[in-house]
Chain length 870, copies 2
């Protein structure tokens, strides 16, 4: 038989599989000669043996526990059973992985009706009985499943009866409460064992059994934790910070968790227990004050803190207790910190020579960087405010403002300096100006890659999309959410990072982008293999992307060049044209606009690469739908409204996402792509006269057949040659590439590679088609899917490696078999997702491209991918 129990002094190096995380940690601290309260750990193997056969406890484990208790009594020079020199213990579960849902802690084990009186003398009456009551309550809950409430009710009744709080009870009054607690046990046909050893046996078995409880079971399933690991049980001597003026307790961070500054940061209370600090009845003192009050303990603490940082090579969050002048370290762990502190600390650790730059890069979770770029709500306010509803966290940040339902209203109020939140069923390109002026955007429909989400991320505006719980009535200007009705003018707070909405105003904090972050990202760029580009389409967005460190633009959509009042009219004229004259008029006007757009864009981007995608959305997105709009358009086109309405109805599609869009439009209406390419090259020629040399990269969307690509290449090449000829200049080098965004494009990637100068994976569409659900409609069932754990992550946010990833990998392999040097990027939403980036690194993608505000996190993630795969 293997060793069943390890004293903390023996456990070092046994590993957390055997001792559990907590047991291993306690053994480790003990081995560092830290003053840890002594104790022992019963192994996870014992747990599994017990669960397989309960007789194991009786036949084998009991003897070992008794031996371990004896040793503990000797080491502490206290007794677990006698009525003097009391040894009390805590019993804690501890699996290899931290696992909520299992039994957690029973404190003060060893108290009984008699020993509590002794205990009251060493500490104080109220505290001793409070400890005993808590033991009875916790023990009843854990060992016998008696609801905790029952006990609280008894105490409350007694307090009410005596018209005073428990702290002022005399001994008899305390004893009366204890009896009433023990009556509760009897009502459940059990009794609280007076024998401490009996208590320990029962508590240990209860911890073992808690491994199987349903909540723990669900948690394991969700996190792929095997069922056969079991939990260890940690038995540790209690120490008491409330045993006099030379006692106390505190929690200290070795560095400032808000700023990262290197200074002890924390607080303590004299003559108190840990929960007194938490309860907030007494005001704790800053840790520095301990230097005056208990200088020896303080000096010892400073030294241990230093030692722990050196050992764990990270900022520590340390719990300590001082019992009659003697310092005990109860727990240490890597301290939680703000994003700002996290970055500062790793930079400091590097300059202190404690960790390498690579380690620094690996220490920061990329998603943390969002907090350095966007405001967040104050933690406390979030805790105190009820959540109105929860949608998809479509664009990070936090904002508060007045609800409006239309883009016009948004503009109107914003002009008056009022912060507005635009709430709509879904947004469309016509809302763009209203979206620009809004603090946040909320939609009741659509997914992470809906129009609202994509545009908001591009602008860095906070957005919650697809919040299905909201019934938005744009006509009545009213939101129904359960029983709550909100109307225009009500104040709403929007957390784009969590997807949550709150009624009323919540305070925000904004940890500003700082030099430390720049430093870290510079290191990141040094080790990264994957390049990071930005998705941007306006001069403003381009500039922001470059500011955030984009090495180029991976996706410059051209849709925006067709929107805006004047342009839209021309686009509509084109779509509804009845003769060549109208077509020519519309195209020549659009050409003027777009040439100016391209000029501005290329002027900003200069010699960096920029992939310009030709028009992609379905025709009908450009068309008016309400009778009023149709009437006004008819007037502008000098046509009969009914005829225009019929024309528009004829263009309507059942599934626009699967319809007449992308290269399909390019093929049926080649004049549009020809106009776009002419505008682009005209602007390039214009810039070349200013000495700025541009090498355009043009991307054709939605290709599913080689013949589609060939057809478009043929007429675009002819158009471009014609331009060179007209201007009598030497050909400018350019590239014609294609977006890989349909499953079929992946499957024939070798054929496409033959014809394309570059590839870029459009993972949004690819995910839609591979799963067969649209980002606009997923909201109807995704909640149910998440509740039932059918989908654990949103494949529009994090690449579905199993399915979509398999297609991408196949496509890269096929393409590279034809053109080993083909440049391949990813410009879908997951291109900016840190979890997906490692996969892209592994399959040999050249660059990822994401919206501007996600670039810093992506720069870190690509560096980490390089380090992971070193």
């Amino acid at each position: 038989m293997k060793k069943m129990i390890y004293a903390f002094t023996e456990g070092k190096g046994q590993g957390k599989e055997l001792l559990g995380g907590k047991g291993a940690n306690l053994a480790e601290m003990t081995s560092l000669n830290l003053p840890v309260p002594q104790g022992f750990t019963i192994t996870t193997e014992c747990c599994m043996n017990y669960l397989a056969d309960e007789q194991f406890f009786e036949n084998e484990l009991k003897t070992e526990i008794l031996k371990a208790v004896k040793t503990l009594e000797q080491e502490t020079a206290k007794s677990f059973t006698a009525s003097t020199n009391l040894l009390l213990v805590s019993v804690r579960s501890g699996a290899a992985f931290s696992m909520p849902g299992m039994m957690d802690t029973i404190l003060n084990l060893g108290l009984n009706d008699e020993r509590v009186q002794v205990f009251a003398k060493v500490t104080n009456l109220a505290f001793a009985y409070d400890c005993y009551r808590r033991l009875l309550q916790m023990y009843g809950d854990v060992v016998y499943g008696i609801p905790k409430d029952k006990f609280n009710q008894q105490l409350t009744a007694q307090e009410k009866k005596l018209s005073k709080t428990a702290i002022d009870f005399n001994q008899d009054e305390h004893i009366e409460v204890i009896k009433s607690y023990q009556d509760i046990y009897r009502n459940h046909h059990v009794s609280f064992p007076q024998d401490p050893i009996e208590q320990l046996f029962e508590a240990t078995q209860a911890v073992f059994k808690s491994w199987l409880n349903p909540r723990a079971d669900v948690y394991r399933k969700l996190n792929d934790i095997p069922d056969n690991l079991g939990t260890a049980v940690n038995i540790q001597a209690m120490v008491f910070g409330n045993s006099g003026d030379k006692s106390g307790t505190g929690v200290v961070f070795t560095r400032n968790p808000s700023t990262g500054e290197k200074q002890l940061f924390g607080e303590f209370l004299l003559n108190a227990q840990g929960e007194d600090v938490v309860a907030g009845i007494r005001t704790p003192l800053p840790i520095d004050a301990l230097a005056e009050q208990l200088p020896e303990a303080y000096q010892a603490f400073v030294q241990y803190a230093e030692q722990l940082e050196q050992y764990y090579l990270d900022m520590q969050d340390i719990e300590f207790t001082i019992e009659q002048g003697r310092l005990f370290i109860l727990q240490t762990r890597n301290g939680k910190r703000t994003a700002k502190a996290a970055v500062q600390i790793v930079l400091d650790l590097v300059s202190e020579g404690m960790i390498s730059k690579e380690e620094a890069l690996l220490r920061i979770t990329p998603s943390l960087i969002e907090q350095l770029i966007h405001p967040v709500f104050e933690t406390q306010a979030l805790k105190e405010t009820p959540i109105l509803a929860e949608g998809l966290p479509a664009s990070p940040g936090a904002a508060t403002g007045t609800i409006v339902f239309t883009a016009e209203k948004a503009k109107g109020l914003a002009n008056q300096g009022i912060n507005v939140i635009l709430v709509r069923q879904e947004t469309s390109p016509e809302d763009i100006e209203g979206m620009i002026v809004s603090e946040a955007i909320v939609t009741s429909r659509g997914g992470m890659t809906s129009h609202a989400a994509v545009v908001a991320r591009g602008m860095g505006t906070c957005c919650v999309a697809g919040c299905e719980a909201l019934i938005v009535n744009e006509d009545l200007k009213e939101i129904q959410c359960g029983d709550i009705t909100l109307t225009e003018g009500d104040i709403l707070s929007v957390d784009g990072s969590s997807g949550r909405l709150y009624v009323g105003e919540l305070p925000t904090v904004f940890e500003e982008n700082n030099q430390s972050l720049q430093q870290l990202l510079t290191w990141a760029d040094e080790v990264a293999h994957l390049k990071v580009r930005g998705n941007a389409e306006t001069p403003q967005e381009l500039a922001i992307a470059l500011d955030f460190g984009a090495t180029g633009i991976g996706l410059a959509r051209t849709e925006h060049m067709f929107f805006g009042e004047e342009r839209l009219l021309e686009m509509r004229r084109l779509i509804l044209s009845q003769d060549d004259n109208e077509i020519e008029t519309a195209l020549s006007r659009l050409l003027q606009f777009q040439q100016a757009d391209f000029y501005q864009m290329f002027k900003i981007i200069q010699d960096k690469p920029m992939v310009v995608r030709l028009l992609d959305p379905p025709m009908h997105e450009f068309l008016p739908h309400s009778p009023g709009e149709i009437k006004s358009l008819s007037q502008q086109l000098k046509r009969h409204p009914e005829e225009v309405a019929q024309h528009i109805a004829h263009l309507q599609e059942t599934n626009p996402m699967l319809g007449h869009r992308g290269c399909r439009l390019g093929i049926t209406q080649p004049l549009i792509y020809q106009m776009q390419v002419t505008a682009l090259f005209n602007s390039v020629l214009q810039l070349s006269q200013e000495g700025i040399i541009i090498q355009p990269e043009i991307m054709i969307p939605l290709i599913s057949e080689k013949a589609e690509l060939l057809e478009i290449k043929t007429f675009l090449t002819a158009t471009i040659d014609q331009i060179f000829e007209t201007h009598q200049i030497d050909p400018i080098p350019y590239e014609l590439g294609t977006m890989i965004e349909l499953p079929r494009a992946c499957l024939i990637a070798d054929q496409l590679a033959n014809e394309a100068d570059f590839f870029s994976f459009g993972t949004n569409d690819l995910t839609q088609m591979t799963y067969g659900f649209s980002r606009d409609d997923i909201g109807k069932f995704i909640t149910s899917y998440q509740e039932k754990h059918i989908m654990t992550s949103d494949p529009f946010q994090t690449l579905d490696q199993e399915g979509v990833g398999q297609l991408i990998k196949l496509a890269v392999k096929k393409a590279r078999s034809i053109k080993p040097d083909l440049t391949i990027g990813v410009c879908g939403e997951v291109g900016g997702d840190p979890h997906s980036i490692n996969f892209f690194h592994q399959i040999g993608i050249d660059y990822v491209s994401c919206s501007a505000y996600r670039i810093p996190a992506a720069r870190l993630a690509v560096a980490q991918a390089s380090l992971f795969n070193k």
Copy 2:
């Protein structure tokens, strides 16, 4: 240098790559000792040599041609250059593949101003000059590119001037026309060579060059014919059926091409040329009459016909000419025939011991069988009637009737015994009763797998779908098609096999399903490996599918169980339910209906397998959309119309095809699937009491994640176990399988195979998602794609092997790696497509399933697949 020219007597076995199809055929007939007019073939190699270097003709080929002409003169005992005993020749191109677009034929080469006079004496004046005029015209066209019209204009002018037709011209008048023809040459700065040898040289070179003409080039690209094959040139002595009363010409089939009966079938004219037969000025006589008129020639012909059938082992279509009592066979080829004759002939050939059963099966094109099941329009009527518009040939057959625009009107008129054609933008399940009574269905939107198309094929009703040229105004009850307006009551003829519409009534013929077909299909079943099942969902359809020889049902949709006035109300109640009461009411009523449906279906299908697919379409298909319908529904549900309207609006989806449907609905609303499965098992129990044992196969649609399948399996298994328990019976074996219809399902087919009892590929959805276009919306661009040859076939009709096929193959491989014996079927539209079936055979599919009326063709196709891959 290789041999450049082969006399017909030398060519046997040289192959059509070298001699072209026609040259090889002529050599073959010659080798059979048939009386073929003599001649020689210039090889395709000469063509390629000439096209590479024109000097080749001068330096090498000329000498060879002169030699060949000399030999021909000797063999025919005629002279090509002298003015007696005239040898005239035809010059014909002939590539390895029959190739429209190249130069075809020049007849009567060798005539000139002098020889024509000699020729007139042997034949007659008008004929001789007609031949000469034709030579001048054809030669001008082919060799010099002079438009043919110019010549016709001259002849017409002369006829007008002389007020008589050319047949009555005297010699001078003929000569005058010839001169005017030669003037045309001069106007083009060329002249017609009087030297026959010169004519032959120029004509040969012109044929060579025609290989490169643009039409031929396009044809080769379209049909993947390599550019480097070249064409051969055939030079053959002319024979003249118009050289007296013992001369003549005719065309004869060796068997009746309409019925297949074994009897010579054809006609002839004495003292005539082939074109006289075609021109129809004189009435030809049936071939039997030749026995009396020219018994020797007739006897010889009968013998040659027999010989040719024995040689080619098929019914022959033979052209012959008799020149002064001497029979010449000009051409023989396998004769075209009706579907009925095709089947009869192969059966006869088998019983005559000429071909094997396997060969018989391979001889019949599966699509031909459609004609034995559906009526078609008379060929002559089709030729004479202008096409109104062309849509997709969605369901074969031909029908004529009165246009109606609503299902109600259709029912009304049909009840009065009037044949109706239902014309709609698109159909929906609510139209079903109107569709049943219609002779044909026409839609202006939707593809080959749209609702109209699928339902029509299921019912065997003729249908043209997605006829975009029609602007259907259902309110005005009016169709606009270009300048033509049709209204209710107008007569329309619909050809579902070609997709064409005609105004007015066209006569139909119907070659009835016959015993011969049954015989052929019985042979087919004997060799087939793939099984053929039917897609059917009503008792009527099930019975038809079994009648047509289905081995089971591969897809029994359950959608129809939710439609029909009473059921629809309950389904709507369910979807819009506000409390559990409503849900229970709706479900218990639906259960009653569906149990009865399943009972009827299983009773028909008995012990054959039937895969029942649980509900698939999106919710909103069940909901009313017009204000009137919503109002009436609100009254039935006792709710406020506005509230119902809002609820319906909330359920609306942007892309229903990518929305809340299939298993997604099953997961969010498990009660629906539970009700369906309960109804199914209740009916099975009912039948088991009647001694009929059913082993249900239940199929879950639209799975993209293993967890989806598990979730549904879990609650369905529980439901089924509960039923067994309630009825206190032993469990009945059943299978739970899944549809593979999303790209992701293919990619994780190994995971799904672990959980599924069977697979069935839903190729309609799989094609939609792989290409990223929906069958409903493809109409907007597919015409343009076909015009530009970007897509040569519709992937919803014929499997896209490159893309979709690659996914299917991958899925089969993955699935079989887990479960080698997993039953895998294909139940999408391409399951019934003969072109796709061979692929399914090769990748190891177990069965294909298609709509009832396609089963016979599929049975033949699966047999052919077995034979192809033997």
